[in-house]
Each structure stands twice: as structure tokens, then as C-alpha cells.
Symmetry: D3
Subunit: 305 residues, 6 copies
């Protein structure tokens, strides 16, 4: 398993070795789990491209630079098998096993949502994790298009395998017309909390995040941000656009309000560049990644205190 060096995110340093880092950014150019027309494999490169125009360092509302608080580097893209889905998943898991042993917080840039499964296998191997998922879909399907390893199945598998604790899984933004519904019933039956779009707006974004904090507490938790959680006008660049989502500001505010969570890692997934319109989704992805990195920095800063 080797890493290919690439132009780095926001012009931050490139690193080979996570062991000297607090936070590492990892490109996951994988879309072998996709059943839509998306090409999330191209996501990491386009996010890096969108961040090349000028360096952005300070977080206006933090009044600090995350890059001053902790050591953050871009580790490049995982050089995954191009055609063999299971081999690629194994490589992601192996890389993350190593990464987590090094002690750094990982921010994964997907890639379709199936990448989250091997990440959770690595991060949750000792203890089932909590999860905050921002998404239009619960991704708890059992089998789709004849496979149980698809971008709509990662949390089904992770719960079954015991790397996620369903009673500490909170899914925010679920909505829309679906091909089936049994997976929602299943998710609820095992204890997953679904804050669908109606409940999100009934509670308000702060209320929804407060509910997530309440459910997860100080349990180690992973954050997964599927770009289709945001309304398609804010993120047209994805395989399955689901109108009626939340806004960019609400997305950013919710990540920011996760401050205090015992976060163990995060990812931003399902950005498919060919469906993007005028770079809107690429630029939003840069901001979501910046917000995630800033959350990590606050978390690490708090841990030191």
C-alpha cells in the first residue's frame, strides 16, 4: 500500500507519515460502490483543485487558525485497486488501522459512501463507535443491485459487524422519495435515531445538534458528511440529487455546533465532480473540510486543557 503525493489541500504541507501529525487529510478516490451515475472517485482531486486558488487559514468565528493550533497535513490519495472493490476496501481499512495507531485524527475526502465502512472497521475495531451522519439517505440498506457492499449499505454492515453502536447513531437530514423503505424500519428497530428533514426544521439546527449530543454523549464518535444531505442547489455535484435539503449555512453551523463531541474522525463523501455546476459543490466541499479540520482543532485544543 503506497501513497501518491498530490497537490495538497489548501496549500498545507504534504506528509508521508501520520505519526507526527494531529490531523491528517486522506484522499479516497473510490466509487466502486456507486449505484447512481456519480463519479465520486474524482472528488478528492477536485476538492484539492478548488482549494488551490488562495491560502485560507483563519476561521472567522473561531477567531483562530486551526493550523496554528495543531499539526495538520495532507497525506495524499490512497492508491486503491481500480477494479476490485473488496481489495480496495481492505486497503482503506489497513491504511486507517495504521493511521489510528499513529494517534492522529483522520479527515477522509471521498469517494462514494462505501468508503466509510472500512474506516469504521478500523476506527471502531476496539469499541463500537457513535456516529453523526448528515445525509439525505439513511444508508442502512441490506442489499442493493445484488450486493451487500454498496454506497447505500455501509451503516447496515457497520452495525451488524459491531463497529457502530446503533443507539449512538444519529442521522440528520433524511428525506425524499425512496426506492424502498424497509431499511428505515430496520434502522429504527435497532435503535438508530433518524432526525429527518421535517424534524430537523421542527427542532432547528441547534436543537437537532443538541439532540445528537444528548444521544452520543462523550462516547467516541465519527462524523460522516454525505454531500447530498445539503439541498441540490448547494451541492448539485452528486449522484443522487434529493431536493428539499438543508442549506450550506445550516451544514456549516451544525458541524460547528458538534464542538464538544468526542470525535475520532470524519469524512466528506459523495461529491461527484461531473455533475457539479460551475464549481459550486467543489467550493462547498472545501469549506466543509475546513470546518471539519477546525472542529478537530477545537477538540484537540480542549483535550489538552
Amino acid at each position: 500500500m503506497t501513497m501518491r503525493p498530490v497537490p495538497t489541500f489548501l496549500q498545507i504541507p504534504y506528509a508521508d507519515d501520520p505519526s507526527e501529525l494531529d490531523v491528517g487529510i486522506i484522499g479516497l478516490p473510490f466509487d466502486l460502490g456507486t449505484t447512481s451515475g456519480g463519479r465520486a472517485r474524482l472528488g478528492p482531486l477536485e476538492i484539492r483543485k478548488a482549494g488551490m486558488a488562495w491560502p485560507r487559514r483563519y476561521h472567522q468565528s473561531m477567531e483562530k487558525s486551526p493550523f496554528d493550533i495543531c499539526k495538520i497535513a495532507d497525506l495524499g490519495d490512497l492508491d486503491l485497486d481500480y477494479f476490485d472493490k473488496e481489495a480496495a476496501l481492505k486497503d482503506i481499512e489497513a491504511y486507517y488501522n495504521n493511521f489510528v495507531d499513529a494517534g492522529a485524527l483522520p479527515l477522509g475526502l471521498g469517494g462514494d459512501h462505501l468508503v466509510t465502512l472500512p474506516i469504521l472497521r478500523a476506527l471502531g475495531r476496539k469499541r463500537p463507535l457513535g456516529l453523526v451522519l448528515f445525509d439525505a439517505h439513511p444508508d442502512t440498506v441490506d442489499i442493493s443491485m445484488g450486493s451487500n457492499l454498496v454506497s447505500s449499505t455501509p451503516f447496515r454492515r457497520a452495525i451488524e459487524e459491531g463497529v457502530l453502536d446503533p443507539r449512538r447513531v444519529v442521522e440528520i437530514g433524511i428525506r425524499g422519495a425512496m426506492g424502498r423503505r424497509d431499511h428505515i424500519d430496520w434502522a429504527k428497530s435497532v435503535g438508530v435515531t433518524i432526525i429527518d428533514i421535517d424534524e430537523l426544521y421542527d427542532l432547528g439546527t441547534d436543537g437537532a445538534v443538541a439532540k445528537a449530543h444528548e444521544i452520543i454523549g462523550h462516547h467516541p464518535a465519527y462524523i460522516s458528511f454525505c454531500i447530498d444531505g445539503v439541498d441540490p442547489v448547494y451541492a448539485p455535484g452528486t449522484g443522487v440529487r434529493v431536493p428539499g435539503g438543508f442549506t450550506s449555512y445550516e451544514a456549516i453551523r451544525m458541524i460547528r455546533k458538534l464542538d464538544g463531541l468526542n470525535v475520532v474522525g470524519a469524512d466528506i463523501v459523495e461529491f461527484s465532480p461531473p455533475q457539479d455546476i460551475g464549481g459550486i459543490t467543489a467550493e462547498l466541499s472545501v469549506y466543509l473540510a475546513f470546518e471539519a479540520v477546525s472542529l478537530f482543532a477545537r477538540t484537540l485544543d480542549d483535550r489538552k486543557k
Copy 2:
């Protein structure tokens, strides 16, 4: 009057005869009433195209499929006269007269807003109807570009002809810079309730819909959704973009909250594909149609109880 078979909406069955249906979807490829640069004539085909990618059946918040609750089919497009506006309007009216006799609920896919006039003539011929209109414009103009049958005049005519009861007409989302204002004065003078965009945000979407319920009660009511009611970033594909509208989510939520209304039919109008950007409006139209069909299903389900 013949129907042309077409690729169907969301891959549901095609039907020739509405008499065996609960709900029928009818394409209305008409834009002879347009005074803008829109080409709403192309709307029905593009909505059907946008729904072809994959079947969507279950409504996440209903926790049911409308297609399981009642018998829904696509009846294709009305084969309207290409140049003769009045002949086309007569054909729409005749078709709907027949349709309503068959007992099914019609969902019309426009077409410019003038298509709603012959629909109301058919549906309101026995008793003046109530109306919930989502729109940036009141469409109560008397005469425009020298004609009294224009996309901005349908509700003026329908009220004058007695097929709409103005005291049971609620218009939501009205806003913007207008060419004239006498039509708003007229609408208010005859009893129309205008919940303009400021009032909509003052009341909140739930409050606005509650006001509509209060005004209309259990009176038979029609729902007309002009796509320009939504902000142009959510629906760029329309002839007259009016910045400062409501969001996709608010649109969907308001339709959903109309549950309980004695609904007799609905339409989605003024989607003009050539002005669309990257398919955003087409995909939203599919969702609005799905939401309308789901509202019909809930209504029919309630009636059975």
C-alpha cells in the same frame, strides 16, 4: 381528442382510461398564453425524462408508497392544437370534464399558467372552488399584451366566470417588481387572500398553510403550483425569475401540510426547460409532482376511513 402515449412519469403504468384510476397524471404541453421567453410547452416531457433514471416509490415521511395506497397512472400528453390558443383551451376543458366525471384526481403537468383556467372551468363547473396558489405572481391581471387569455390572467377569468370562489382563494409567495399593480387591488377587493413573501416568513410556512386551511375549510379546493414561486436558484427553469422566493424544502413542506384539505386536483406549471440550469428545476418538478401525488393518496386514504 386523442392522447399520445409517452414514456411515463417515474416508470408508473400508462393508462388510456381514467375511469379505473384514483389519480391520473396529465401532460399539458401548452404555452400559447406566455408573454415571457419561457417554453413551458416542453415541461411535461422534461419532467418525465428527469424521473426516468430510477423508480422512486416510497415517501420517506409518509412511511408509505402512494402507489400502494391508490391506483395511479400516467395518461400521457394532451395532443393540443399547436397554434390555436382557444381551441387548445377548449380541448383541455373537454378532457378534464371527462376526467372529472370518471372520478379520478388529476395532476396536471404544465404548460404555462393559462392551462389552469380550462381545468378550473371543468372542475368548478358545478360549484365554485377554493384555491391554494403557490406563485410569485397573483395571476389576476385583466388584460395583458392585448389579450384577456394570458398566463397572468387565469384567476381573474376563473373568478369572473364563477368557477373560483375568491373568498376561498389563498395565494402564497407573491412578491417582486411588477409591471403593474391594479390586479392586486382587484384581487383583494373581491376577497382573495394574498400571503405575500413577507407575510409568509412572518407567519412561517406552517402558519401560512394553517391560514389557508382556515380560509378554505372543507370546501373543495384546487392546488396550483407555479414553479416561479420558488426562488430562482431552486427553479431557474422558468420564464420570469423573481429573486427572493421560498426554498424547495419550504415548498415541499407546504404541500405536505395541506393534508386534510378537500383537494380536487392540482397542477405544476411554468417550468420552462430551456432556461433550466443543469436539470435543477426538472428534478424539483419531479419531487413536487411526487409530493402532490402523495397528498392525493393521503386524501383518498382519509376519505375511505
Copy 3:
């Protein structure tokens, strides 16, 4: 059979001489202060083009036409030096000195944000002004790219020069990842009120505007609307897109709620047509200009009373 002369911006009259006007619209095709990839120089022409399609006269919520209340004309574009930044700034200042002596209210169509500096020099030459700024950035940087006259420095200079009173400066919508932060510290240290995007949503748009009214009172105040204050989906056509902004409706509502302010002029800046998507930003700019003109009309109407 008549011919229609080729139409102009919102089809209002053209005027050479501001002395007979209540309100004058002035094009400011200038972007020598830009450090991004924007081309705001092209803004005034594209705003005029976007307003050519049809005349819009009546303001739906005012229930009046601003053009009936006061005498409004388009004065065309300032013919600024193409390469010499300082000469161009002097010419803007000279023109506005003249304009303000004539007694009319100026609405400037930018142009990058540096155009606001010479305007403030002219309008504030007798007495430091208050300011309501809608923007993603505070634009109080000291020196950028080696220059103190850049699109991110106008309010630093204007405060230093005494043409703006920092205790009466309110900046709304500030947010995002920034290259630096010392300018925010400076702004706060001299008394500028920053209502960043989080506070804006905590207060609500009406609350934020109420706070602006409270701070500025009846002091003469200028309004500057940087198009990047709005979220990039509503205004993709700008040099620096900052995801997570407010909506078009919120923008329009905030301008409208400034009614009662002792307004001395306004501008709309940083619209860069080459970055626009499908004309979305151009059309929004027309509406913001219409809203500003309407605010002027209400102000003048009130002054007469």
C-alpha cells in the same frame, strides 16, 4: 405600426445632469482594486442588460412605484481611466462631489469594492458617515498584495481618513475562512460592529437590522451591498465565493427593513459577470438595485412629510 427604440436599463430615462433628479443611477466599471479573479468592471453593463427584458415599475410590498414617487434616471457609466487606479478613484470622487452638491441620492453599480472609498470621501467630506455593509468580508484590511488601495481595504482607509465614523459602522454577514484576521481585531478595536453570519441567524434578519438602526440612529448613513454577502448559490458571479451566506430573500428583506435610516446613498458591488451561472447573479443585482431605489423613494417620501 410603430417601432420601439432599443431599450435601456429598466427602461427608465437617461439623464446627463443630476441636478434635476431625486435619485441617480451611476455605473462604475472599475476593478483595478481586485485581488481575486473577478471582473467587476463588467458589472454595470450586465446589470443593465439583465433589466432590459421588460419594464418593472411597481414594488409589490410598497404597493407603489418608486418611479412615481420621485425622479429617477440612469446617468450612464463613468468613463474612468482604464489602467491608472488612483486617477480613476479621483474621478469617482470628483463626480460624486458634484453629484452630492446637486442634491440627488446616488445608487452606484460597481465595480469592485474599492469604488466605495472615493464615494465615501465625497459623501462624508463634511461629516463622517454611518455605514451598513452587507458582505462576507469586513474589508478593513490595511495592506494587501503590497497596496493599501485594494478591494479589501476601503473601510480601513475611510475610517482612518475620518469620512466614516467607526462607531456607526455595522457590518452584516461576515464569515468564512480568511487569509488573515488582524483586520477584524482592528475593526473591533475602533468600534465597528460586526454582526457575523452566526449572530445574524441568532438575531434573525429583523433583529440584525434593528441593531443597525439602534447603532446608527438618525445619523447620515451609506449602504454598501457586496454581492458576496449573499450565499454563492444566489450570487455565483463574484470573485470570492464564500459558502454559508444569507439568502436572496433575507438580503431583500434587510434592505427593505432599513427604511427609516437617514440614507445618503448606496452601492451594489463585486458582481463579476464571467463567474455568473445562467444569469442568476445579474437578475439578483437588478432586484437589489430596485430595492435600493425603492428605499430611497420611501426615504424621500418621508422627508417630504
Copy 4:
């Protein structure tokens, strides 16, 4: 410090009265003859907008400015009935009758292709004209969509009415998959010369134009340029894109090589702005108009000699 008045089409003068002109440009915002999804009604405005950026005066290959050779003005748009096709056609004919009596050469900016019929009625009323048509379609259909006055029928009618002499009609660029073919048989049977796209490339552009000269000789002839004659990549902004057309350069060269023809007028039709991509067709239309005006100037210059 001077102000520039808001510019107009190619920034040439506006004129009310054709009698003092050599060449007049006339906007024909009409698309009541369209059976496609085009909106050619919007063409004249967009062509004028596309020409506003900067003044273009000199013709590189003529080594002269047409505007120096003869008196050219823009007469604005005809104010045509919005809904009544036959009334609008009558108005075009009446205007052109007047225009032709004034002695100027008309360049019409369409508008769908049906506008050419009333123009030919006016220009050919005394003597049947020759014609050079650049188009993908022969436009000699008899009846389409139930009407004999449609954008595909103008030359059928004009030949039948005796205002075109079919033996002096040359149609260049015809090609593609068609809904029917009887109209081509008819056209050939009455003597129309069709240089289809294969023959065009067999002869070369110069050969094709030479053939047109040979057929038409010094007979008075009209030039009609349908924008869909060009390949869709050069003119995506049209109602019916027919892949496999000629290039922009070939179009310009063919117009230029018509020098020597006894030209009585010209038009550029079927540009539909909503279908355009990034302004490509608008800018080409400006160039075709400039080339036509230059051809007129050369013609008038020659006549003086």
C-alpha cells in the same frame, strides 16, 4: 470627467426614419411560426446585447469600415402583435413596404424563419426575387402542425405567391434527418437549386457560392441566413439543432463571396437565446450581421461606381 451614455447595438446611431439611410437594421421579435422549442422572439435583443461590449468598425479583409462607406442605423424592434400571427405578419410586410420605398437596404434580425415571408412579399411585390438561403432545412413545407404559415413554410408560400422566382432560389447546407421529404421533391420540381451539405463539401464553399452566382446572375436577390445552417457547436442557440453543418468560417466566407450579387436585403433568423451555450451563438450572430452589413456596403459602393 465625462459620462458615457448607456451603449446600444454595435454602438451605431438609432434612427426613426429609414428615408435618410443606406442600410437599416430592424429587429423582428417574432416566433409565432415556431414548431420547435425555440424562442427566436428573444433574438434581436440578445444580438444587440452581445454587440454592446465594445465598438467594432473595421472589416479586416475589406480593409474598410462599412460605416464609413454608407449611412447605417439601427431602427429598433418592430412592435408586433404578441399573439396574432397574421396581424404580426401584416405589420412586418407593411413596415418593409414603407422601408423599401425609402430606398434603404434592410437587415432583419429575427425572429423565426416565418418573418422572411412578409419581407419577401414586400421586397418582391414588383418582381419575383432570387434567393440565397443558408439553412439546414429547405423550408418549403406545405402544411405543418395544421398550418400553412409556419417557420418551415415561408419559401413554399413565397414561391406560390410569385414573390420568389424558384429558378433563382439557391439553398445551401440542407441536411439531416427530417420528419418528411415531400417538400424537397416539390422544391426541386419547381426549380429550386438545393446544394445540400454533401454537395457543399464536394464543391467547396467557393464553388457553392459560384454556383449561386451563376444561377442568380444580376437578378435582384435576397439573402436569408438561418442560424441552424451552421453546425450546432457554432450555433447551439436554435430550436432544431442539426449536427453535421458547416463552420463559422465557412459561413462568413460564403456571405463575403456573395459580393457582386444584386442584393436587396438580408436577414439572420432562428437564433433562440434560451438554447444558447455561453453566448456562442449571440456572438456569431453579431458577426454574421456585421458581415451582411459589410456586404451591403460593398454593394452600394459598387453601385455608385
Copy 5:
């Protein structure tokens, strides 16, 4: 192996059974062989959508309708395994084996270029075929991204397996910057004729096709049209754009000039809708398919004589 009915190409009839047809159109929604960012899986649906607007029947230069000459139907899309590449290839081969036994000529709508391999296996199982390939790439790579079944390897495999006769393979349009070149050496070494883009323009399109006829003679031959053979401005919708290709007209003319070839089938591959710009590639694909069907019709017509 089942077929899913779909909206048909150009509104022609749908058929289940190829045995009563002369020509059958088969959708091949497959892109498991892709190493670029393309999504050719979505191609067949978008080609069908692009052909829905209006029926096109007559071929202008044939002066006939192919649909009158022979029995042509759309057989829908092959329902291929979503994730298992080898299973999908087997299904394509099995379907084509059946198809070819039924005696009809197949037109495949891809799909990435790997679909051509199982087609050739079926069509060439009794006797190695000749081939005319239009493409920017020779697609004779041995192994790419670790696999020997990739969209750049089909003709290597087909030649090795003896279903293609390399001395009767003519590749037209090859060009560009490549990742490697050994595959070209190999192709030439086994006898493949490469008419690269320079030779194509040296010979002219007619000369190049004449050379193909000379090499293939009356040997049974397959035609494969990779959309990236055309210049990217004519076909932006593909995974690997190679600037400097031939034009749409040249493509159409070359297919047309293949008349007389003993053609056994054809395909149009590598159209990737997400990369398309404004529908340009979809519409061209419709025309190429129409041209291929017309070539089949002429071939069948000749065979009858």
C-alpha cells in the same frame, strides 16, 4: 437474461424478439471497463431522451426513410449485472449470440468501449471479422490498471482470440498525447491499419474511407464508433477528451461512405452524459445512430437486389 422495456429511440416500435427484425437497437448500459471519469453507463438512456423531442424519419441525402426500407425496432436495454464485469460481458455475448442467430443487424448503444469485445466474440465466432473503428485511441492496450479487460483493451483481446482479423482492421482518427505507446507498435506489428488524424486529413475523409474499403473488401465487417474520435467540441460528453479530432460532418460523411461494406453490426460507444455540455453530444449520438441505421438499410436493400 431479461430486457427492460424503455422509451424507444426516435419513437420507433419496441420489440422483444429480434427474429422478426432486420435491424435491432440494443442499449448497453455498462461502464465497468472505464478507467477515466466517464459514466458511459448512462449513455443509452440519454440518447433515447435526446431523440424523444420529435420523430425523424427521412434521410435527406438517401432521399428515403430507413424505416420504410426495413423493419427496425428498439429492443431496450440489456439488464446487466451492476458490479460483476465478467458476468456482464458474458451476458452481452450471450444476447448477441442469440441476436445474430435471429438474423438481424445489431446497433449497440454503449456503454464504454469494452462492450465491443463480447459483441465481436458473438459476431465473429464463426469467422474473424473486419473492423472499421472511429476513435482517438487504438484500444489495443494489453493491460491497464492491472486488468486485461478495460475500455482500452477490446481489440487486443479480440485479435488475440481470433474474432477479429487484424489485417482487416482499420482504425481512423487516432491521435493525441498518450500514457504509453507499445500498444500502437503491437497493433501495427499484427497488421492493423492505423489512419491517424494526420493521415486522415492528408487523404481526406473520402480517401480514408476508400482505403478502408480497399483493405476490408467484401469481408464481413463490424463498425465501432467511439464518440471521442470526434473533436471534443462536437462531443464533450466523454471520459477522455482528445482535442484535434475530426468534425461531426466528417464523421457522418465517413459512415455514409462506408456504403457497400459487408457490414454485420455497429455500435456507438463512450458517450458519457455527465461530461456533456448543453446536450451537444447526446444530439450528435442520435444522428450517428440514425446514420448507422440508414447504412444498415442501404446494405439490406442492396442485398435484396
Copy 6:
């Protein structure tokens, strides 16, 4: 004068020092000479981004990799003064003086066309150079917008200053509607050869290049490729689109046929990313740069022989 390291062109190595190179690629992010709405300053980054997707090494028609023949590296972008045009020009000249002393061939990625002036000053300081210019404009204007250092003046200045020998300057592709024509007269009067677009197509591309060879002979010559020389459909991303240009293939072929010229350097200028459509111009720029590098490699290979 320092260089900023950047992600490199086509993933080739980055180098600090030209002295060990045969060929160096230099980014010139400069547009202070622009009088259009272009933003050529953004060109070098976008060309590098467009080349990131996959490594391209072999030149199909050379049958070799230029990177095998000689040592080629990317030297990054010149870090030019952001606002001071003359300072920036001095820095370009100083850098190139150094570069040329190191003995490598420079390929400049612009930037507006004014960048060529300081390059010529450096490369031609010992002996006036020959020039092959591909462009729509001759760029021999004396003064524009009040300045003699503008993107339309570089060759006027270079000839006046004696760094270009006008009798060895060949300009190919000149065409269009121009603001003035005196500059063409001047250019011809001093001996510049203009092969305008008509002559280019009369001679054919090979003939035009042969004429350039004849005029320049073995004199040291520079090649400047202005992207607006190509037709706007092939290069929409530029400040001044001039319809009626040559094709991508013709551009590539002409560069390739310059083989044998005593080339001393080259540039590709006037690519303005904000005006691009779907990345078409960026990808073409990559290919033109690859072709230029390949020409350099052939030249150096020949010199060794």
C-alpha cells in the same frame, strides 16, 4: 524575484534552476495589460489543473515521448507584482534573461499577450528575432486605452525596440471586426507578413506554414500562440472571442509543421478561465503546450544530430 512552487504541468518534475534543463515551463499569471473582460492571470493554474487528471507522455505522431528526448521541468509561476504593470514586465524580462543564459528553451503559459513583450526583450536582446504568431489580432496597435503597453501592442513595441525583425514576423489567422485598422497598415508597412484567415484557407495550413518557413528560414524565431486565434467554439475561454477562426486540429498541425524552425522559445497566451465553457479551452491549452514541448524536443534532437 522568487518562484512559487506549484503543482506541476502533466505531473512532470518541478525545478528551481533552469541551468540543468533543456526545456522549462514557466507560469506567467499576469493580466495588467488586458483591455477586455478576460482574466488571463488565472490561466497557468487552470492549465496545470487540466493536466492533473492523468499523465500523458507519448506523442502519437512523433512515436516518442518528448520527456524521454530531453530534460523538461515545470519551474512554477513567476511571483509578479500584483498591481504595478511595469514592475511586473521588468521581472518577466529579468527572469527570462537569466533563463536564456542558462541555455534552456522556455515555454511560457500566460497571461495576457503583453507578457510576450518582456520575453522578446530578453530573448532578442542580442539579435532581433523572427516570430510566428497565431492570433485573431495582429497586436501591433500603437496606443490603446491611453497606454502603449497593452495586450494589443506587444509586437509594435518589440519591432520599434529592435528585438523583433519585422521582415521575419509572420502572423497567421488574423480576422474579424476591429476597432481600428491603422495598426495593420503599420505592420505591413514595416514588413510584417499577415496571413489572414482567408489566405490561410486559400493556402491550406501546410501552405501557410511553408510560407512561414520560407520567410523566416533558419533565423532564430519565437512562437507565440494566442488562444483567440482558434475559433471560439474551440477556445471560448478568452477575453475577445472572434468567430470564424481555425480549428484545434489545424492549430496542432501548424505547430507540428513548424518542425525545422530555429525555435528559441514559445508561449500560449490569453486563456481566460472564467470565460471557458466546460473546460474545453483548458484541455486544448494542455494539448497546445504538449505540442510545443514536443516541437522543442524534436528541435533539440535535431540540433544534436
